[in-house]
Amino acid sequence: MITLYPEKLLSIITISSMEDRLVSMFKKYGVSGFTILRARGEGSSGYEADISGFDSNILVKVIVSEERMEPILESIERKLKKGYHLTVYISDVQVIAPDKFS
């Protein structure tokens, strides 16, 4: 049987212009990789992103070990305090190759 190892999956929904900042932040805290999907949506700021193509949301996914998560979340919280709109959630996942994400 294939052994599975627990990791955390961090998901962030925000506007696409935040991408460069998130990526530098990830690199600073040494994540092993990230994946970005285009999205659109509606939220507390009441506007509907995307559709017109001028500005769209992105959904960023990062698999990261629990230890490395903390500084990333702190950095996210600092951004939230400054007024940036980031919808963030974390889920438990299991992976095959744990060394890939550390």
């Binding site: 900042r21 700021s45 009441g46 506007y47 559709i51 017109s52 500005d55 951004k79 305090k81 400054k82």
Partner: protein, 338 residues
């Protein structure tokens, strides 16, 4: 009457069609990337064309145009900011973000004005094109400065025990320098100025191969673009209520102020023909919806995007396309006749 003629322009009619499509709740939707591709094309085409013409024109006038474009770009957002703060309907952050949009320009409005002038056979200088390129960025910088000022005074009045963050900590991420660089290297500016330079330095035989692409299909692409813009405007105008009557009025008064200022500068300061001065008026009257919104999202995250997007896309853009352009044209004609 010019206004009716303007309304029967295919480009303007397509804008109306897009608007109506949303009003009747059609399921018509353009692919998200189409608007971006159309923008890229339009900026490239006018850039190439303008650069080609500019290479043949007077550098002194070009320099004067740049100076006046900078003046407009720096002064208009300050006027906007002071008026908005005076209304007491928005906080200073929102005022800074909104007024940055009015100091910058909308290429879509500019191109509609060109289509309008072409259609009624009015000629114009190419200098306003440099002004279009120049005016994209300064207002972003003014917006940043106004927001920084607002942020500082807010931080001072916020000194409650619970607010641990020092003022510096509450500033947006990267410093002013990096935001300034963003303003000067934003995509629209790069395409526009880049294409102008290419149009100016390319060999004539090289350019001649490009003309069918940038001339023949131009009007059709503009129609498609305004079709989409009509849908966007109709969606945005739905947020009208959130914005409130005073703000909505700002979305009409501010372009009028800009239009008068631009007409005066174009006609009296730069001595342009009726067509050229109309274009300067349109530049000053138009509000950005491509370059400035993402810049404000990053630099003034505290401001509410609903406000500036609704004003710029839902109110000012339709106003200029349907009413403003013929109005500014009439105004300049009156000035010229006087």
């Amino acid at each position: 009457m010019p206004s009716l003629e303007s309304l029967l322009l295919p480009a303007v009619l397509f804008f109306a069609l897009g608007f109506i499509a949303r009003v009747i709740r059609s399921d018509l939707r353009f692919p998200p990337d189409l608007a971006k591709v159309l923008s890229i094309y339009l900026l490239m085409a006018i850039g190439l064309h303008g650069g080609y013409e500019l290479a043949k024109s007077d550098m002194v006038v070009a320099f004067h145009s740049i100076v006046w474009a900078l003046v407009l770009g720096f002064v208009l957002p300050i006027i906007g900011y002071l008026s908005l703060v005076a209304t007491r309907k928005v906080n200073p952050m929102d005022a800074a973000a909104i007024s940055a949009h009015y100091g910058s320009v909308s290429a879509g409005t500019f191109l509609t004005a060109i289509a309008y002038l072409d259609n009624i056979g009015v000629t114009y200088e190419t200098y306003p094109l440099i002004m279009l390129a120049v005016m994209e960025s300064p207002a972003i910088i003014v917006g940043l400065l106004l927001a920084a000022k607002a942020r500082r005074s807010q931080a001072l009045s916020d000194v409650t025990p619970s607010s641990v963050g020092a003022p510096a900590d509450s500033a947006p991420e990267n410093g002013f320098g990096s935001l300034l660089r963003d303003a000067l290297t934003n995509g629209s500016v790069v395409i526009l100025i880049g294409s102008m330079i290419i149009g100016a330095i390319s060999t004539p035989s090289g350019m001649s191969k490009l003309f069918p692409f940038i001339d023949d299909i131009f009007m059709g692409v503009l129609c498609l673009f305004l079709f989409e813009m009509g849908m966007v405007a109709a969606r945005r105008i739905g947020d009208f209520k959130k914005v409130g009557l005073v703000l909505a009025a700002f979305g009409i008064v501010m372009p009028l102020v800009g239009g008068v200022a631009g007409a005066f500068i174009g006609h009296s300061m730069l001595g342009f023909s009726v067509g050229g001065a109309t274009l300067v008026a349109v530049l000053a009257a138009s509000a950005s919806y491509i370059a400035v919104p993402p810049a404000m999202r990053l630099a003034v995250p505290e401001a509410n995007p609903s406000y500036y997007l609704t004003l710029s896309l839902g109110i000012t853009f339709p106003f200029n396309v349907l009413i403003g352009i013929p109005l500014y044209h009439s105004l300049v004609k009156m000035m010229a006749a006087a």
